[in-house]
Amino acid sequence: MSVIRVLSGRAWVWSFLGMFLVWLVTAVYTGGKGSADVITAALSFATFTVIVGIGQMFVITTGPGNVDLSIPSTIALSGAVAMKLMGSSNDMLAIGLAASLGCGLAVGIFNYLLIRVLRIPPIIATLSSSFLILSTAIAYGRGLKIKPPPMLAEFTTAQVGGVPILAIVIILFAILMSVVLNRTVYGRSVLAIGQNMRAAWLAGINVERIRFMTYVLSALLAAICGFLLSGFSGGASLNMGQEYLLASIAVVVIGGTSVAGGKANVPGIWGAAMFMFLLVTMLNTLGASAGIRLIMTGLIIVAVITIAGGDEPQR
């Protein structure tokens, strides 16, 4: 009994519960055939959602109104720049990665300048910067059809006993970021700012530096995601980031992070990302048409947030 009570008090439990349920339904429907493969696929695809989800989580946690909508275009720009620079050559891997990170850094700084210097609300600032970033990617990568370096393609698709190597790396990374969130001065500062920005400043926290670091972190993670994703899917494309706009926000919220800020949860992002992928798989398996699939996905996400988001009302 008490175990259940303790667990249900932790928001991330719900996302894992949801994940398990949809997987079970799929497995029962198919008679258990290929249900291990489904997990492997889910791990592979969820990995990319988790990378950007963690960045988005830190941004959302800094308080109401904070959100990074430039993630999809940063993924596209970073992928395009890296692929073009590396030109399918293993020797250029490090340079490609550095260029990707450079893109992320530039985007993060630019976003923050719009928010801070021009005092534009983050939602508008990152949305408008995403148009600029995407245009840059289009101008830079016109007719882009370059294969990733073989080493990168191999690394992003390699598996050990059905578990993708990349997923293991990102699970370790998620653990690291969980420690950063809960045990470092930076993480604590983010949580404090999300509850009350003014009180955080008056408690000696350098609010603007922390916000700056957070927007840069989010953009850097989006850039890394773009780099790895183009290796995984055999090259960069301009719309490869598109689905991560809603996905990055949805996994944060389903994973138990408060949209009102000040409360965040890293493990929940993994559960939520797996849940999202398995949900679509389940609907596919059940033979739902594209329209039904979208409607069901929407409804189920709303339902999960309603159940899992059963926070005590904030005063």
Binding site: N196, A199, G262
Partner: protein, 491 residues
Amino acid sequence: MTASDTNIVTLENVAKHFGAVRALDGVDLKVDAGECLGLVGHNGAGKSTLMHVLAGTLSPGAGSMGIRGHDLTGSYNVTAAGENGIRCVFQELSLCPNLTVAENARIFHPSLTGWGWKRRAGAMIRDKLDEIFPGHGIHADDVVGDLSIGKRQMVEIARAFTTTDTPLHLVILDEPTSSLDAHTSKQLLDFVRKAVGEGQSCILISHVLGEILTYSDRIVVMKDGLVVASRAGSDFTRDTLVAAMGNVVEMEEIKEREARDVNRDHAPLVIEARSDTGQDSVPFVAHKGEIVGLAGLASHGQTAMLLKIYDAAMRGRNTATVSGPVALVAGDRQTDGVFHLWSIARNIGVRSLRNMVRNGLIDPAAEAEMGREWQERIKIKAPDMNDNILSLSGGNQQKALFARALASDAEIILMDDPMRGVDVGTKLEVYDLIRAEAQKGRTFLWYTTEMDELYNCDHTYVFRDGAIVADLSRGDLSEEKVLQSSFKASA
């Protein structure tokens, strides 16, 4: 004479427990028409909980409630409170910051509808403000969020006294003067006496015992969730009242404390600042180990001066000269102080995170230790320092904010009227703590709206309209001098 004519509220054996905390443990309370009831007790004695029960925002776990002769046990709620003309001014202000004064006034009065409701609501609240606080300087179309905490409190109080269709029977004032200066406090209390004379009732909660003794018909003393005394106001003296509250601290007159021996010539200068007005008669200076007071009417530039010094220290700006790290004790704790999702211990530790880092990570043991140490030193009344900060009473939250600043490495402590809602016993302990810390070389800048607290200060700067108009040393300090300087322009 039937009960419903004279009796507004009759509570019998009312109890309310929050987990293991017995906030109310069987309380009897009667309020009659045309009575001003003073309610006193230590932080966490259950005063605010009792008022929440009366306002209908908390339903009691046990006991019976009779309101104006009707038994409303179990069915009493906020709507019933409104229908019976019971209003409450809570300690945590409840105005909507994004709305104007007039719009906030309208929230209480659903009958104000149709064309021109905003104008009518504005006129209503303006008339009431004029009646209670002549010369208040608040406009009906001011956005509440832009007002200082003192002015917000005035709006909140005036709003509670406005009436449209339902007659007003009882107004509960929970620490109404804690954000008001001496002048506006007196305006309010005089108004309360007038309202009571006209047949309304009032419950007055305050830690300023002088107010309670002067203005109450009857005084109820609470302790540990129980009513321990209920007698006519004239039966109490300051000393018997303190004794009834169970105060172990010897009540000593702060005024008689000897001036501390701080030699301005030898102690190094740590702060030098000027207000933005350019009208200062003297610059604001503080030396190492000094306690410097900021006085005058509420929100005449004292908080602005503290924030200017804080800003200069944090950002390394040269708008003011500050040598040494600073920490601030907020008075407006909901807006400036408390992190509502965190435990008490985390709220205390947040200013000292850097000092708790071991091997790059915050050490939970160090944080817990700091919480334990300060729970003991400043007597925070909580079963567990890992409980949420909001489980504390207002005064205990304030103590946690004190602990946050005093536990830090700051050499300069800025205090923005920090004693709001803190009981007498704790105040005396905190005064001693401040003096002891000053002796060790810490500098305190202390904005206060309570005259008595200035007697703890070595130097007091009086502010008016944003500028410094007087510099009084401890020997020169008197209430007359402070008031004289505060009002010079208008007199």
